[in-house]
Subunit: 283 residues, 2 copies
């Protein structure tokens, strides 16, 4: 496995691979790799000859009061995880390589896809995501790129961006990977104290509670959201950022569940903001 | 020469060309082709195996009170011009092909490059340009793309966009092509009445006047701009939009000319807004 830090060296390696007829898969990450990332890398390795894992803590997707400086950076461990899962290249550029002097160009998905959910509580976040991912797409020019369903809104935003800008790249979305007790894997889980770690289970449990309600026949969106909120409020360490039950593609709210819906939530456990989501199937 | 109207048919043809080892040059236009466009196409034909000329009157780069509906559309003639100059493919998509349903993604160069000059009088214009050109770049994936120096600010904005977003495309800038009497070629020249056509010469003549001033030793930016303004105001049909003497790359104004500078102007002749520019060399 190679560790590359510049766009030029990466492009040289990828040109060689392409000339040899090899397909390229890209797994964009911010590092602090966990089993969720490993599942993306394994999926990429199964479908591509060469897997590039980018590790880049992208400053433009963090708000001014967010955890950019504190975000975990664990390159040595990340390299071991990526290699084990089948990566051929780690692309780990410094900030100035991705955002050179005089940088001025932004890629922005406007409208309902970025207005609600995390877009409401993290203004500018998705603009940073689409800006960096469009750069990575052009730098790597992969056949396929891998993203986790954990970031459900990001998935829809990136699908829209890729379609609108005619990126000839197949976006392959992989299911959420959870700890044995249900906690969705996240690099931010490392922020949690043992007590908070236990309290964080309220997220996945509240999703299970919503599934029970739907299975019992509940179809009213507001009623389900209200029940989930009440469930989460039983946990004293939890502060709700949002709970939204939306259409899984357009992320717009419907009064009544008539088809598969996406229940997405963001909850602070102490100071740590966690997200989780699940599809609610209406049979 | 082929006329193609969908992204898919174009991509099929380009995939064949690429598989045959052919290089691809792109000349993005809004049609109403004149000798300026022909010079771009000829330059592309000299440097590439396959030349794609896109003809697309891009709605997103027109302001609400601009000439989108009136913009000349002359496909038959354009095809003859393009073929004669060496184009292999005309890509002439309908609007819904470039901006499909639910379109939401914008590419935007922020800051000084788009703030002044035409950016001031045409808010949103460059955002439309970078949005459509980034799409065309991803649709065609050319080795080289050709633009005219006539649109001096557009050239710098697109260079910035291509660099920032890591488009692996060489931007080849071609000199302004002028009529025998000095008028810069423009699709909008067709709007001019015979009397206005004569009055429009004030643009290129004012650039020549500035060159004379610099040759005579004038180095003060404001003095040159003022002299050019006074010169243009001798023409009763002319209304100045802007006259700016700036650095040719960053488009920022300097108090004094110390190096090659760009003199750019936009002037209305009757209702028709024309632009022109020249480099002022300081020996």
């Amino acid at each position: 496995m190679q560790l590359l830090e510049t766009v030029n060296t990466l492009r040289e390696q990828l040109a060689l691979a392409r000339r040899a007829g090899k397909s390229i898969g890209l797994v964009p990450t911010m590092g602090a790799l966990h089993e969720g990332h490993a599942s993306l890398i394994r999926a990429a390795a199964a479908e591509n000859d060469v897997v590039v894992v980018s590790i880049f803590v992208n400053p433009t997707q963090f708000g001014p009061n967010e955890d950019l400086a504190a975000y975990p950076r664990t390159l040595e461990k990340d390299m071991a995880v990526a290699k084990e899962a089948g990566a051929a290249i780690i692309f780990h550029p410094p900030v100035k390589e991705v955002y050179p002097d005089g940088n001025a160009t932004w890629v922005d998905v406007e409208g309902p896809l970025t207005a609600g959910l995390c877009g409401r509580s993290r203004p500018g976040h998705f603009r940073g995501v689409t800006t960096v991912v469009s750069r990575l797409f052009n730098i790597v020019r992969p056949e396929r790129a891998y993203f986790g369903q954990k970031d459900a809104q990001q998935v829809q935003v990136l699908k829209r961006m890729a379609a609108d800008l005619f990126f000839d790249i197949d976006l392959r979305i992989q299911p959420i990977v959870r700890e044995a007790d249900g906690l969705a894997m996240s690099s931010r889980n490392t922020y949690l104290s043992p007590v908070e770690r236990q309290a964080a289970l309220i997220l996945s449990r509240s999703l299970a509670e919503a599934k029970r309600l739907v299975a019992a026949g509940e179809r009213n969106t507001a009623a389900i959201e209200k029940a989930v909120a009440a469930f989460i409020q039983t946990e004293p360490l939890a502060t709700i950022d949002y709970i939204e039950l939306v259409h899984p593609s357009d992320l717009a709210r419907r009064e009544t569940l008539t088809d598969t819906s996406l229940l997405a939530l963001a909850v602070r456990i102490g100071k740590t903001r966690l997200i989780d989501n699940t599809f609610l199937e209406v049979s």
